[in-house]
Symmetry: C2
Subunit: 282 residues, 2 copies
């Protein structure tokens, strides 16, 4: 049990982590670091944090610091934290990209007190009002560059994530970013692009509203995601995302060619191949 | 209450319709028309139908005939049915495309006993084992070319769909096919293509399996859909689908250009525009 846990960024992920820590009895008190007054008020209303402090004060009193802010501002924030903490503290981030951050903190003496994590869970909603205490249950949590963190710090963080119902997967930061491009980032781009397609061409919004069934909703729901969170992820992971995006466009062109040439045999072949995804997801 | 309802094609849709009819007391007996023995056995095991008959016999005894088979074989099947039925019978189809079928039956004397419908519901699963009695609840049902059907027949079919919890939307067949391309067909193509993208590039299937979260699952789940059902839909609606697919590829290229040029402002703009989909879907 920690005397104090500081959550930097009390949104969907930071808020869910805070709620789960409290629920499981890991923290006596939780301090939030906010950059917007409305978020702070909402987090208090929802009972997610016990107090709010500026970053420096919050860091100095924390046993554990959990950083869950957009990946672009994570880097300077984490560098600042690296310069402030002692060997008795642990810092964890929850970002969707890992390579740039791991490189940015590589040479800080306190690097060993940092555990780079990515709990593989999210929704299209953001802010503390989207946080729930059971968010992470049943999902994977990636830990990167485990060997660069103190084993005792890794053990504590693993135990927390496991207590929240997650299973741990170890990966190099570079491998993480490649896999994340496939299993998460590309889904968001296709969903954003699909929303723009429909909004561009389908002027009769009432028709969409009336007719849209579960299939449309599930493929387009990620298009409601926060640009402030996702634009920096795509930019930081741009080479991997571009690689997957190019492949995706070429796969779509195959469908286009089938339709243009009325080649139903090839269309079947493409779809039967896609059906193999059943092996991977239930 | 009908003495006999014949379901041609007892799969996801036909099976769900049969179960709902029984549940609501609309049918004394339900006859299934099957083209595969396994499907027939499964439908009996699940109690979806009371008997199985060849098409001709089943049609001759039915008060209501419900056709829910792939859209390519719907056309010759429906033409056959049009040539057999009397003024006392009603025929309904549940296909995802409407224009080609409506044209194909336009000149049959019994056209007036046909009601062209599309209950806007489905899942990525198929076969009678995927059918449920509450499938249609809360969804829209499109009726096309209402004016070409006998008002009494339309009224009966509307009453049934409403009793199953659907709301009715009237549309011309051509307009239906355009809207369906946007709110349903393109989602399936992007999902099939996304599955192929990941299967092509991500050789480490274990990584997908371990890491894939809710976002990936929801955008890719339609890729599990039946090629036998969907290939004919895309082909019959190819002009509309191509139109939407071209737009979708050009929307994806905009994301690609943002990443290539590191233009984060434009990336934000694209994503903020996509966020407008919130107005349309909850």
């Amino acid at each position: 049990m920690f005397n104090n846990v500081t959550i930097v960024g009390v949104g969907l992920i930071g808020g869910s982590f805070a709620l789960a820590l409290k629920e499981k009895g890991f923290a006596k008190s939780i301090t939030g670091v906010f950059n917007r007054r409305e978020t702070q008020e909402k987090a208090f209303q929802l009972g997610i944090v016990d107090e709010a402090l500026p970053l420096e004060e919050a860091i100095s009193k924390a046993d554990l610091i959990y950083v869950a802010i957009p990946v672009d501002i994570t880097i300077p924030t984490m560098q600042k934290i690296m310069g402030m903490i002692t060997e008795k503290q642990i810092v964890v981030d929850a970002g969707s990209t890992k390579l740039a951050l791991c490189k940015a903190v590589a040479n800080y003496p306190m690097r060993k007190r940092f555990v780079a994590t990515h709990p593989m869970w999210g929704t299209e909603y953001s802010g503390p009002e989207a946080a729930t205490k059971d968010s992470f249950t049943g999902r994977a949590c990636v830990i990167c560059e485990k060997e660069k963190s103190d084993p005792s710090a890794v053990k504590i963080i693993e135990d927390i994530y496991k207590a929240l119902g997650m299973h741990i997967v170890y990966m190099e930061a570079e491998a993480h970013d490649i896999h994340a491009a496939y299993v998460s980032h590309i889904s968001h781009i296709t969903s954003f692009a699909l929303a723009n397609t429909v909004l561009e061409k389908e002027r009769e919004e009432d028709a969409i509203f009336e007719l849209a069934g579960g299939g449309f909703e599930s493929t387009v729901r990620l298009a409601k995601s926060s640009p402030a969170m996702w634009a920096p992820i795509f930019m930081q992971n741009r080479e991997n995302v571009l690689d997957v995006l190019n492949e995706h466009i070429s796969q779509l062109r195959k469908f286009k060619a089938c339709l243009e040439k009325e080649n139903i045999d090839y269309l079947y072949e493409l779809m039967e191949n896609a059906n193999k995804i059943k092996r991977i997801i239930k």
